[in-house]
């Protein structure tokens, strides 16, 4: 059992998604910078330790850039749209008077440390959630995720996975084009030229890739309508889309404390019911066999459970001591932190050592063996 546990292999992509979503949900519960930074560090470490050499895995860095852009924007907007909530004024900017109809909006003016910190905490939370999704994209193979979709979700799943893999592929394109430019030399040109030299190849690459993807999906029989009446397909599709939208709204309302409660459980349940009816209709007519399906082994369970555990701990502690998950900005002080949420977040580190390492690419294996011989 143990001898096969750590054999290099690719984990089930859904296990990585569950782990990453667990971290993201945990991040959504708190604005405590200590916890958010710990979640970021945990996610980055696991990604670096367990990612493959696939193109989508190397794009994780782009998500980190995106995260820092989000934080900078949040703080910057506090400067622009007035941040005088709080009493520690650190910067006095001239206020731009606005016409009567724009009452309630303020341009510049006094900026307080409290509102800047509020923007920082808020931005950090959003950035952490985005980076957690980036971690899932880096660790999980989108093609195998599509393979693991249940037959009923097949049509929606295809669209979602094509959409999900767009950003990592774009990121990979940017990195590759940049590398090629560097190798060609002459990178010291003007900024506009650099933009020109990166964006056009990247867009062309994206177009090529989507044509290739369309062709290969067509060849494999994706998108075939089958012998189903157009009306039945329309009804099934409508049921599923409405159901999934309901599920999304319901999940959002359940997780966000300030949304009205009638959007939470009722919408979630209604969405689930509608979606399940849709799945039943769709599943009836889709007969699909899988070639060597991915199985859930112990390692997958460990990875998924660690992610779920993190979010469960943060949910449980937020009902006990909300004060240190959402640090107060009444008067400036260092955010408080207690042990339970901190240890809870550290459970998320488990996959870094308790999951099998990724499979090395085929062409690298002989080289590594050859290296060992002379030594």
């Amino acid at each position: 059992m143990l001898s096969t546990y750590f054999l290099p292999r690719d984990l089930h992509p859904a296990a990585w998604w569950v782990w990453a979503l667990g971290l993201a949900v945990a991040a959504s519960r708190t604005t405590n910078p200590w916890l958010l930074l710990t979640i970021l560090a945990v996610a980055s470490f696991v990604v670096v330790a367990r990612r493959t050499d696939a193109p989508w895995a190397l794009a994780f860095r782009i998500y980190l850039y995106l995260g820092s852009v989000i934080v900078c924007f949040r703080v910057f907007f506090r400067f622009v749209f007035g941040g005088a909530e709080g009493s520690t004024i650190i910067l006095r900017l001239p206020e731009i008077p606005l016409p009567e109809w724009a009452a309630g909006i303020r341009l510049f003016g006094d900026v307080s440390a409290e509102s800047l910190l509020g923007g920082l905490y808020d931005g950090l939370r959003l950035a952490t959630m985005v980076i957690c999704l980036g971690a899932a994209n880096a660790l999980a193979n989108p093609k195998r995720l599509l393979k693991a979709m249940p037959p009923a979700l097949y049509e929606v799943g295809t669209a979602v996975i094509v959409a999900l893999s767009v950003f990592p592929q774009l990121a990979e394109s940017v990195l590759r084009v940049g590398r090629a430019r560097k190798l060609r030399g002459g990178t010291s040109g003007k900024r506009f030229h650099a933009l020109h030299a990166i964006i056009i190849p990247v867009l062309e690459d994206a177009l090529d890739r989507s044509l290739r993807l369309a062709a290969s999906m067509d060849a494999r029989g994706y998108g075939r309508a089958g012998k189903v009446a157009a009306r039945v397909r329309l009804v099934t599709g409508l049921l599923m889309i409405v159901g999934l939208i309901g599920v999304c709204v319901g999940v959002y309302a359940t997780l966000d404390g300030s949304t009205p409660r009638f959007l939470a459980a009722p919408v979630l349940v209604a969405g689930l019911v509608i979606a399940l009816i849709g799945f039943r209709f769709a599943g009836k007519r889709v007969q699909r066999t899988r070639y060597r399906p991915d199985r859930w082994h112990l390692a997958e369970l460990v990875v998924a459970a660690s992610g779920v555990a993190v979010s469960v701990v943060l949910f449980a502690t937020s009902s006990v001591d909300p004060t240190n998950l959402n640090p107060s900005l009444i008067d400036l002080s260092w955010p408080l932190l207690s042990w339970v949420p901190l240890c809870g977040v550290l459970i998320g580190l488990a996959p870094a050592s308790l999951s099998p390492p990724p499979e090395p690419p085929f062409d690298h294996e002989p080289i590594r063996l050859a290296e060992k011989v002379p030594a």
């Binding site: 200590w34 916890l35 930074l37 710990t38 970021l40 560090a41 945990v42 980055s44 470490f45 670096v48 330790a49 050499d53 749209f81 007035g82 941040g83 005088a84 909530e85 709080g86 009493s87 009452a103 309630g104 909006i105 303020r106 003016g109 006094d110 404390g257 300030s258 949304t259 009205p260 009902s319 006990v320 001591d321 909300p322 004060t323 240190n324 959402n326 107060s328 009444i330 008067d331 002080s333 260092w334 955010p335 408080l336 932190l337 207690s338 042990w339 339970v340 901190l342 550290l346 580190l349 690298h364 080289i367 590594r368 290296e371």
Partner: protein
């Protein structure tokens, strides 16, 4: 080596320890105001328990109800949704771990994320000297306090709109008993605009100005928990008898001199540890180093 590290950590912690007190004694002074300048702020915890606090904001310039509350040294918290336009906690009451038996939810805990329920919130009152308490028709940032008068905060638990408990301290400064009531008449809001200000108010010096924020400013004392996009102005309601209260019926009060440090109290209530942030920082640094090393090792392996 380890002792050195612990000492260094301890020294840093003393250096960074928050020095705030429950009541900021550097602002205002305990008890009633001595004369006609400034405003006396009364905080009555009612069923929450705790001794009523009376303090004075000696500010001689005009200011909003929020300025009075802060100027008297009280520590307040707004809700996340509206900011300080809606007072959610005064002196950390109701605290995040305190169970308030509101109707329909006997172990409700106030998280101060959205508007508190109508069955448990801080009701906002005002009065001129020697006048009867009036339930404010304006938000805490939308009206100016009455110079020489009173601002009242009274926790309303399971009260109906017309039976909000007024502060149990008569709005009478000691030594002025029997004098006539002098208070400007405050017209009720005439429209639904949350940014509307009470007529005649608003000439606040810049230093004390916190009336304009990105949040809609309004409604320091409504109890309606609706989900509209702007905080609605308080609904007009009956503010009780018009006769001035008798100072002899006052409940016992203090100036808040011995109140505990709010930051300390929050730290106790949340089970926070002084060492946890340091451990978190250490973990983040260690993980960042480990990430960097692992990435480098794997890059070398890939390139070789």
């Amino acid at each position: 080596m380890r002792t050195l590290a612990i000492l260094a950590v301890a020294a840093l912690m003393i250096a960074f320890a928050p020095t705030a007190h429950a009541i900021d004694q550097s602002k205002g002074h305990p008890g009633y105001c001595d004369n006609g300048t400034g405003v006396t702020v009364v905080v009555d915890f009612q069923q929450l328990g705790g001794t009523t606090i009376v303090r004075c904001d000696p500010q001689s310039t005009r200011g909003t109800g929020l300025d009075a509350l802060k100027g008297a040294g009280f520590q307040i918290a707004g809700v996340q949704r509206w900011g300080e336009a809606f007072i959610c906690r005064v002196e950390n009451r109701p605290s995040a771990v305190e169970e308030i038996p509101v109707d329909g939810n006997p172990d409700y805990q106030e998280t101060c994320i959205d508007t508190p329920p109508a069955a448990g919130y801080w009701s906002y009152w005002h009065a001129g000297n020697n006048c009867a308490w009036k339930y404010s028709q304006w938000g805490v940032k939308n009206r100016d306090f009455v110079a020489g008068g009173f601002e009242g905060w009274s926790f309303s638990l399971n009260a109906t709109a017309n039976a909000n408990p007024k502060p149990r301290i008569a709005a009478v400064r000691p030594g002025t008993e029997g004098q006539p009531c002098v208070a400007p008449d405050e017209p009720a809001p005439t429209n639904e605009d949350p940014n509307a200000r009470q007529p005649g108010s608003g000439q606040v010096p810049a230093a004390a100005d916190n009336r304009e924020t990105e949040e809609p400013d309004a409604g320091g004392a409504t109890g309606s928990g609706d989900g509209g996009s702007a905080l609605p102005p308080p609904k007009p309601r009956n503010s009780g008898s018009a006769a001035v209260d008798d100072p002899a019926d006052n409940v016992a009060f203090t100036g808040g001199e011995k109140a505990k440090d709010v930051t300390e109290v929050i730290k106790e209530q949340s089970g926070a540890s002084d060492y946890a942030p340091w451990v978190a920082g250490g973990v983040v640094v260690l993980l960042a180093l480990a990430t960097w090393f692992t990435a480098r090792r794997r890059r070398h392996a890939r390139e070789s």
